[in-house]
Symmetry: C2
Subunit: 219 residues, 2 copies
């Protein structure tokens, strides 16, 4: 059992930024960093960083700073990155394939072990050396294999049904790329990647930047 308290998603989001900065520092051979310098790197106040890290125990040494390697390791533990996760992806069009590719090359500790689709043209193929299974057999697959994370890369209409099957099959978390708000039990983690929301936020920002000047309307 780990002795940290439940913290908000906002703190967790900052943790992922700290982690990335620390990783860069490690690669650059930096061994110790003050909260002020860490703050400069990621545009956060030193006080914010100290407060966030204090959630998880007093990591810094006054007048000395943080040991980069140790702090990096601690944040990995906080983020659950010291575990290995077995993942499957449901939906194997370009997006599903991009996700499989991404996890294969960039994310150690997150292993995509199977893909699922309904298309007879895809079932049986291997994509990035991962086999595509018939979605109709997912119940059976989940009974036989312990899967930690189910990734949904289907259309909106299919997403909740897929989520229900994944949850029934015992996944601990769902990474949802479908543009749908899914209903999941409290003990199942869920994280949404809504491309359309992100794009609309961008267009809204562009629009707000243009307030007071002529809005460019392309035809």
């Amino acid at each position: 059992m780990k002795d940290f308290t439940i913290v908000s998603n906002i703190v967790i989001r900052r943790m992922t930024r700290y982690r990335r900065a620390l990783n860069d520092l490690l690669k650059g051979g930096v061994r110790v960093i003050s909260s002020a310098n860490l703050g400069n790197l990621i545009n956060h106040a030193a006080s914010q960083i100290r407060e966030d890290l204090n959630h998880f125990g007093a990591f810094g040494l006054k007048g000395y700073g943080y040991n980069v390697e140790w702090l990096y390791h601690q944040i990995n533990v906080i983020l659950g990155l010291d575990n290995n996760y077995k993942m499957i992806i449901v939906g194997t069009d370009n997006l599903g394939q991009a996700i499989a590719n991404y996890t294969h090359f960039y994310q150690s500790g997150f292993d995509t072990v199977a893909l699922f689709d309904l298309s007879s043209e895809l079932i049986g193929l291997r994509i990035n050396d991962i086999k595509v299974f018939d979605f109709h057999n997912i119940d059976e697959y989940l009974k036989r294999n312990q899967i930690d994370i189910g990734i949904i890369a289907t259309n909106k209409e299919s997403a909740q049904g897929v989520a229900d099957k994944l949850i029934e099959g015992g996944v601990l978390g769902i990474w949802n790329f479908a543009p749908a708000d899914l209903i999941v039990p409290d003990d199942v983690a869920i994280e949404n990647m809504h491309l359309s929301h992100s794009l609309h936020i961008l267009s809204c920002q562009i629009n707000q930047n243009s307030v007071g000047v002529d809005l460019r309307k392309s035809s």
Copy 2:
């Protein structure tokens, strides 16, 4: 010129959720909805919805509710979705291709008009009927074509250099998929889609759900 005030990204994020719910209602033939019912649909308090919408003018009619079609249209205007955006994607591996595919099929008003890459194997090809150009020629391309949004789907190391070229070429906003925090001027909109952050937030949630029980460690 539009007469709304600059609001926070958090409000904008909720707006994108309202928009999706209203779109579903429209498709279902619903013409009027109260803030309470809209709130139920998206798990927000009615008071929150009224407050958000009041930022942009008093849309609701007391005792009557919101005209769904009109509100949907207003939110589109707020989000800048009544404009058309010309986009280019830099980096055309699976992720770049998935984005091109996504914008092609799911996002009217956001037209991807060109792809850029450094790979001689890809330059000259058409992906989803969009031509892949040599990234070395992007300055010239941006001089000749008015591009609103530049999408970065490169690796982390290349991302800032690509962003600089896009900004120099006059894009209004950057949709960044590279795992890097980019430095952009205040008048250029930026929205990040950090896959790794999202995945780490998910693993952290899973970890937090497992506090107090044995953590599953897959070997």
